[in-house]
């Protein structure tokens, strides 16, 4: 990618993230935008975000591909894998060759390799003492992610984290944990909506999510609201 074009796209990504952080925004939409930015701008094949739920465990809240296989792999990662280590150590965890580390996290590594993923990067979503989750970048190639992309990913993650924590400061009636749990709970309705569209449009679960996201974006509506209307059948496509 041409360096000037890339820089411009990165600026655009920050501008869009910043635009999203208006009053009353939906955390889920912000995180979905973040993973898509990472996928479009960085040398990675897929990206996902895990947040800590009310029970203190990491849970997938957004991903570039909504294929169940990818989500399952990230969830294994959350139980024993680089993203859990990243969350606990609050530092970037790089796994440039999953084969080499497969003895550490056998379940996660086997599932990742089965999908052709060979290297992983986990970046903490943190601001000072508070860590709320991790951003995971996955590549089909072996090797370290280049420094430029790491810095860009960390910067994007920081903006999103600050956005989330600041939003909490604004409406401090709800605790951070409530708010993150709310984003995770929104997943229920989004998963149901994916099923509805998979059935009515006769497409895969993954394609169904793409349709829902497209609709939300072109109508500038929160994903959660579109999903809600699909589940109650007030919206059909």
């Amino acid at each position: 990618m041409n360096e000037t074009v890339r820089l411009e796209q990165l600026f655009d990504a920050f501008a869009t993230l910043a635009d999203t952080l208006v009053a009353g925004y939906d955390v889920l939409d912000l995180l979905q935008l973040l993973v898509e930015n990472c996928h479009d701008l960085l040398d990675v094949d897929s990206a996902g975000i895990l947040l800590e739920n009310a029970a203190g465990r990491l849970e997938v809240v957004a991903s570039t591909s909504e294929a169940n296989t990818l989500v399952e792999m990230m969830q294994l990662d959350a139980d024993a894998g680089p993203c859990l280590e990243c969350f606990h150590t609050r530092a970037i965890v790089s796994v440039p060759d999953i084969d080499v580390d497969s003895f550490r996290w056998p379940n996660f590594c086997a599932t990742a390799l089965a999908q052709g993923i060979h290297s992983v990067y986990a970046i903490p979503l943190r601001l000072r003492e508070t860590t709320i989750g991790t951003l995971n970048l996955m590549r089909n190639e072996r090797g370290e992610l280049n420094q430029r992309d790491i810095r860009a990913a960390q910067a994007l993650a920081d903006v999103a984290t600050i956005g989330i924590l600041q939003e909490r400061a604004i409406r401090d009636a709800s605790t951070l944990r409530d708010q993150l749990q709310h984003a995770l709970s929104s997943r229920i309705i989004i998963e149901q909506a994916k099923g509805v569209v998979a059935e009515t449009a006769n497409v895969s679960i993954e394609a169904a999510f793409a349709l829902i996201r497209e609709h939300a974006r072109s109508n500038q509506t929160a994903l959660r609201l579109v999903a809600q209307q699909l589940v109650t059948r007030d919206l059909r496509f």
Binding site: E59, Q75, A78, E191
Partner: protein, 234 residues
């Protein structure tokens, strides 16, 4: 009969979830009948009288189980109410053994409403009156509304007594939610009912909900909307 007594009956049912032995009573509160019974049978749950307002209502149920014929069987088979407002006038129904068995029970009218939940057969509500009596269209409609509540209560009761553990991983929940979406679109129900139907299917087949959900997503299982019970034109 006024709408108020129907409302009271519906309220009573909705709040009786814990005591299924009381499920029959609300029907006699708003309908011009002498007794009622609620029973489970069919392809899904075992044959059992769950609730009866009096001994005669219980016997009417038992007789139908023993003989394998009667209004409650027809109601479920045809997925619509069976209405016999005047047994003395000669019944159009074909239950010779059942009619013979109840001839000394002093029953003038008998009605059976199927208990269904989506594609599942739960059982039936039997209603009898000592004197011949007709149910108005409004009363039939209200009875159908109550049977829908009863079906849900019985289904929940059967399933949640047998709560399968170990199905609460984050990933399996996700797949189950997706399957719930597909089923609600297939059947035109709410998400809550679709979830219950998946759960019931897993229960009936002694499988995990995740297994059933995977089959739904991969389109190996498909639920088909069945016609609702016909209202008042039996």
């Amino acid at each position: 009969m006024s709408n108020d007594s129907f409302q009271v009956a519906a309220e009573a049912l909705t709040h009786s979830a814990g005591k299924i032995s009381e499920l029959a009573r609300p029907f006699v509160r708003f309908l011009p009948v002498s007794g009622a019974s609620v029973s489970t049978f069919g392809s899904f749950l075992g044959a059992e009288t769950i609730s009866a307002t009096d001994a005669r209502a219980g016997r009417v149920d038992e007789l139908q189980f023993d003989l394998g014929e009667g209004p409650c069987w027809d109601a479920v088979l045809n997925r619509r109410p069976v209405l016999e407002p005047d047994l003395s006038a000669g019944s159009s129904a074909s239950w010779p053994a059942f009619l013979k068995a109840i001839q000394h029970e002093d029953i003038g009218a008998i009605f059976a409403f199927p208990l269904l939940f989506g594609p599942l057969e739960i059982g039936a509500v039997d209603l009898y009156s000592v004197a011949p009596v007709s149910l108005s269209l409004e009363q039939q409609r209200q009875t159908l509304a109550l049977t829908a509540i009863v079906s849900r209560i019985l289904l929940r009761h059967a399933i949640f007594d047998d709560d399968a553990p170990g199905e609460t991983t984050t990933f399996s929940r996700r797949v189950i939610h997706q399957a719930t979406g597909m089923v609600l679109a297939q059947l035109g129900t709410t998400a809550e009912d679709a979830h219950l139907i998946i759960r019931a299917r897993a229960f009936a087949e002694s499988r995990s909900m995740l297994d059933v959900a995977q089959d739904i997503i991969e389109r190996r299982i498909r639920f088909t909307a069945l016609p609702d019970s016909a209202e008042g034109n039996s």
